[in-house]
Symmetry: C2
């Protein structure tokens, strides 16, 4: 929990489990997250080795986020949680 327990971390990792995403793409895919929060959580996930940040030196800038191999080891855990949620949380608040 200390590494994946941030307010948006699971959501971010879950998005990146599907495929690589750019910053704005990620922001649009997560309802209500601010640039600040997205940046902060991504930095922490990066520091903890879950997420890889790839910067393309071009104009306009392009930055892609993806799961590292280490981050991918966490996918089964997320799937277990997702499956539990689907089974037990019918109408979520």
């Amino acid at each position: 929990m200390s590494v994946v327990g941030g307010k948006w971390k699971m959501t971010i990792l879950w998005r990146l489990a599907r495929d690589t995403k750019r910053f704005n793409e990620l922001q649009r895919s997560i309802e209500n997250i601010t640039r600040k929060m997205l940046t902060e959580q991504l930095r922490e996930l990066e520091r903890d080795g879950f997420v890889l940040r790839t910067v393309y030196s071009q104009v306009p800038p392009k930055v892609e986020y993806s799961l590292t191999d280490y981050g991918k080891t966490f996918i089964p855990v997320m799937q277990a949680m997702a499956q539990w949620g689907l089974t037990h949380l019918d109408s979520e608040a």
Copy 2:
């Protein structure tokens, strides 16, 4: 995450997965948790149907906390997380 994402909820559930515990027993088993935090988190877990609170009308009071059947369905998910942690988090901060 919205139901088990509280700061101490996973820890509490993990303790109760082993066996029923009394309030002070639970507090002693969790380093640094205050009575206030423990009470609040337990109340929420109770409200969400994970935890059963059993009061024995005696002096001194005795209150036991245990997982409900519903709460027990979450044990495999916690085990998945615990196993992941053991495998990937050697020396935790």
